[in-house]
Amino acid sequence: MSGPRDITFTLNGRPAAATVKPGETLVDVLTNQFDLTGARESCAQGLCGCCTVLVDGDAVSGCLYMAWFADGAEINTIEGLADGNTLHPIQEAFLEAGAFQCGFCTPGFILMTKKLLEAHPDPDDDVIRHFLVGNLCRCAAYPEIVAAVKLAARRLRDAG
């Protein structure tokens, strides 16, 4: 097999470069080389969404996504969502709705909500539940998350 490989990509709007080993995942690289803690490995099987990262605008499971696939891609993580100290409206909505307990799943849910609202600016309960079914929250803040998504949708629509 091949050895380590150099890749370049855009990370939260800034150019980034990394040397990645075969088998290293995107979440490994973000955690170990960029000290980003928002995407985190839990199930490591693509089943829980705790490791969600946006790659060229698509939500991927960072635990399964080979880091070298990120070569040339635009990577966005929860760390890039807020504008400086100003939280993104989805983050605000999660705060206000109390849409988490331990917070371990929260970055994944927030990024998935971003995708959801891009596709469905005015989602009903059914759409929300189906769209977010791949994200697991063992604290089961699900009802509060649904409320947060609706709140965020309203805010984003109002902001036009």
Binding site: R40, Q45, E79, Q101, C102, T106, N135, A140, P143
Partner: protein, 758 residues
């Protein structure tokens, strides 16, 4: 202002203090911790459920480039001569010692700088075992001549287990007994006798942040960074293992990515400590989701329950025998056995009760605490049983429960009086929300509908201590030093509210220190719905002491009583600059009387009563057995809700978790091997599993001696939920299921018994 004066912090849904860190992904978890020079450990596990270890060959693994060292129990012994730990029994070795007792038990550890290298090397280790017959089922284990342990090794910290020391030839780690009245005379006097045996299945906590600990042992002190709900216990137990004084062991806990009772006592802490001591470098072990299933589980139990009832529907006798499958190591199983055993007869006023509750060893992964300390398992049995009695006698299930319910002022079976327990209120509310008195559409044809409810009670682990420190700094800002671990339940916020209320501050401005045993005082643990009551009281006392000291300072500075000069100004006047502290401490242990070992009788067996009810509606497809819980109501007595929104989230989260334990979650074993240890095969609830009509409420109530009238709530909605669902399914299909979980397959089999196993 008096303490009980409602000011501006209590009963307010103040947002979580740490919320911002959690939505930005920057909250600190041990999961992310990396220390300079740190090695990663990966575990090689037993493949047999019971066997003597003949040999472990680590040579190939040790030769892998990048592997620092491979460690077995022989290496551990170099640094820990007696490498056994456990809260109730010192029965668990840091790594398997001569024998393995469950498939999945840690046998060796590979250490490497790169966790992938360590994982690859683990795959090269081989072990040979002399396989022994194994025992899997708790009922068999009671009498089996297969013994999981050669002798019992009770820990000194549980004086009530001392008599078990050195016992051999048994799997029974503890027998708990309660006797109230004369149960045989009660049965003799009864008009009807009902008897059932119900079971619950093994399940697992599956916190999204899997178990993780990092140890950094230096020459004369050590630091453990660990995802633990009980840092004070960890310090005491690690100090004992090392033979060090407590002040040389520092345990630090940031946020936890979920705990649910799993991250209690010693989990990975002893292993990483031994490894770091051995290699003189920091060592981290982070389990995978799959490995978590080998760490700790929830006790399955088999419960035989028998009741004697008069013809007018009064329960006059109840005998309970509960056998708990504790797995290979006792962990906190003996406490589960006692604490759940003690309320095994349910929330009913019964003159004659006998309870026998047994913790038994089997060749399964160890079982420990999980959101309820056994209370949900026993409630499954006593509330289905109670429902069956009412139905067979033709009495309305709510009326039957009301007729028999314990009321404030009456003694529970242990002799401890019921007080501040809103049993009627929670039952009435659940019935009302379910529209119990209204006509119900039972469906027709293929789809049948049913509804059910249940009410349950639990005692709280006792006696336990909490200590708190309130520290006001030179500028008047406030730090709160507590050992309660915020694992998502919102304790930081609630404790800040209590301190703020006493000190007349704004709760959101208080900083709550994360547990660091070098800095934060003792707390028995974040468990068993105890924090709001115990730590909440300690925080109240600490804040009151600080408030008294501020008053004393005012007097010293000749300020008139009640003057509103801020503290910062007072301190500036006293010290001539921004300096000094006001420190208040508070320590709380509730009243407790040790139960009589033969009768379980005690005047103060629990500091408060956990009380909850649930109601459910289901729709069953009678052809396939598929069913849906269409409506789920949980009602909890929380005393005063200090933070209504947070407590509602606890009720809701615990209910959804329990719905998983009721309908989809089950660790499946075959020949002692776990078959489904991954989220792919072990199904925890997702968003679509939340019932359409899902309500979580608390009733108006007050715990007289709780902080501002509050009591604990984190576990309470787990208790009545399963039997409520089970009773609803029975209402729909006409048959009670006795074994958890309630699956479509089980429903199908109940509906089509003739189809058999073919």
């Amino acid at each position: 202002m008096t303490v009980d004066d409602p000011a501006h912090n209590i009963s307010q849904s103040i947002p979580r203090l740490e919320g911002r860190q959690k939505v930005t992904g920057r909250a600190e978890y041990v999961h992310h911790l990396r220390l300079p020079g740190m090695l990663y450990g990966k575990i090689f596990r037993s493949t047999v459920p019971h066997g003597r270890i003949l040999s472990v060959d680590v040579s190939e693994a040790a030769a892998v480039p990048g592997v620092f060292r491979v460690v077995t129990i022989d290496d551990i012994r170099e640094v820990l001569p007696d490498p056994y730990y456990g809260p109730a029994f010192h029965d668990q070795p840091v790594l398997a010692d001569g024998k393995v007792r469950f498939a999945g038990e840690p046998v060796a550890v590979v250490l490497a700088k790169d966790p992938r290298v360590a994982a690859q090397a683990v795959a090269l280790i081989t072990a040979e075992y002399d396989e022994l017959p194994s025992v899997d089922n708790e009922v068999e284990a009671m009498t089996s001549d297969i013994h999981v342990h050669d002798e019992l090794k009770p820990a000194a910290s549980f004086p009530d287990l001392n008599h078990l020391k050195g016992q051999s030839g048994t799997n029974v780690a503890l027998g708990y007994k309660l006797r109230h009245g004369d149960v045989e005379a009660g049965f003799a006097a009864a008009d009807h006798i009902f008897e059932h045996t119900l079971t619950t299945q093994p399940v697992m906590h599956t916190p999204m942040e899997p178990f993780v600990s990092v140890a950094d042992v230096r020459d004369d002190h050590m630091t453990l960074h660990t995802a633990s709900q009980g840092p004070s216990f960890v310090r005491i137990e690690i100090a004992r293992l090392l033979g060090w004084p407590e002040n040389r062991v520092r345990v630090k806990v940031p946020f936890l990515g979920g705990g649910f009772g799993g991250k209690l006592y010693i989990k990975l802490e002893a292993l990483v400590t031994a490894l770091s001591l051995l290699v003189r470098q920091p060592v981290k072990i982070a389990l995978s989701m799959e490995e978590q299933f080998f760490m700790v589980t929830r006790h399955p139990c088999t419960f035989n329950i028998k009741s004697g009832v008069t013809k007018d529907g009064k329960i006059i006798a109840r005998a309970c025998e509960v056998i708990w499958n504790g797995g290979a190591y006792a962990d906190i199983g003996p406490r589960v056995t006692q604490k759940a055993g003690f309320t095994a007869a349910g929330p009913y006023d019964i003159d004659n009760v006998s309870i026998d509750s047994y913790a038994v060893y089997t060749n399964r992964p160890p079982a420990g605490a999980l959101r309820g300390f056994g209370a949900p398992q026993i409630a499954w049995a006593y509330e289905c049983h109670t429902d069956m009695i009412a139905r067979e006698m033709g009495i309305d299930q709510v009326d039957f429960r009301r007729k028999n319910l314990l009321r404030n002022g009456r003694p529970q079976a242990s002799g401890t009086l019921i007080r501040d327990a809103a049993l009627d209120a929670v039952l009435d509310r659940a019935a009302e929300r379910l529209g119990w008195s209204l006509p119900f559409d039972p469906g027709g044809g293929r789809i049948k509908r049913g509804r059910g409810l249940a009410v349950a009670i639990k005692g709280i682990t006792a006696p336990t201590t909490s200590v708190a420190i309130v520290n006001l700094y030179g500028d008047g800002s406030c730090g709160l030093y507590i050992g309660t671990v915020d694992m998502g339940q919102g304790s930081d916020t609630v404790m800040a509210q209590i301190a703020a209320e006493v000190l007349n501050l704004d709760a959101s401005k208080i900083r709550v220190m994360h547990t660091d045993t070098d800095v934060t005082p003792y707390d028995m643990g974040t468990l068993g719905s105890r924090s709001t009551f115990h730590m909440g009281t300690a925080v109240r006392l600490a804040a009151e002491e600080a408030r008294d000291k501020i008053e004393a300072l005012r007097v010293e500075l000749d300020e008139p009583a009640g003057s509103n000069i801020p503290l910062s100004e007072l301190l500036r006047r006293k010290y001539g600059m921004q300096a000094g502290n006001i420190i208040g401490t508070g320590s709380f242990i509730p009243e407790y009387e040790k139960p009589d070992p033969d009768t379980g009788q005690s005047r103060a067996a629990t500091p408060f009563w956990g009380v909850g009810a649930a109601g459910a509606e289901v729709e069953v497809d009678t052809e396939t057995g598929q069913f849906e819980v269409t409506r789920l109501i949980s009602v909890v007595d929380v005393g005063t809700a200090i933070n209504p929104k947070l407590v509602e989230a606890q009720i809701s989260g615990a209910a959804i978790m329990q719905l998983g334990f009721t309908t989809t979650e089950e660790m499946l074993f075959q020949d002692g091997q776990l078959l489904n240890g991954s989220l792919a095969d072990y199904k925890i609830p997702n968003m679509l599993d939340v019932p359409r009509d899902f309500r979580n409420e608390f009733v108006e109530s007050r715990q007289q001696d709780g902080p501002f009238g509050a009591k604990g709530a984190g576990e309470i909605s787990t208790m009545a939920l399963s039997p409520a669902v089970g009773n609803a399914v029975a209402d729909a299909i006409g048959t009670y299921l006795l074994d958890m979980p309630i699956t479509p397959e089980a429903v199908y089999r109940a509906l089509h018994p003739a189809d058999g196993d073919a």
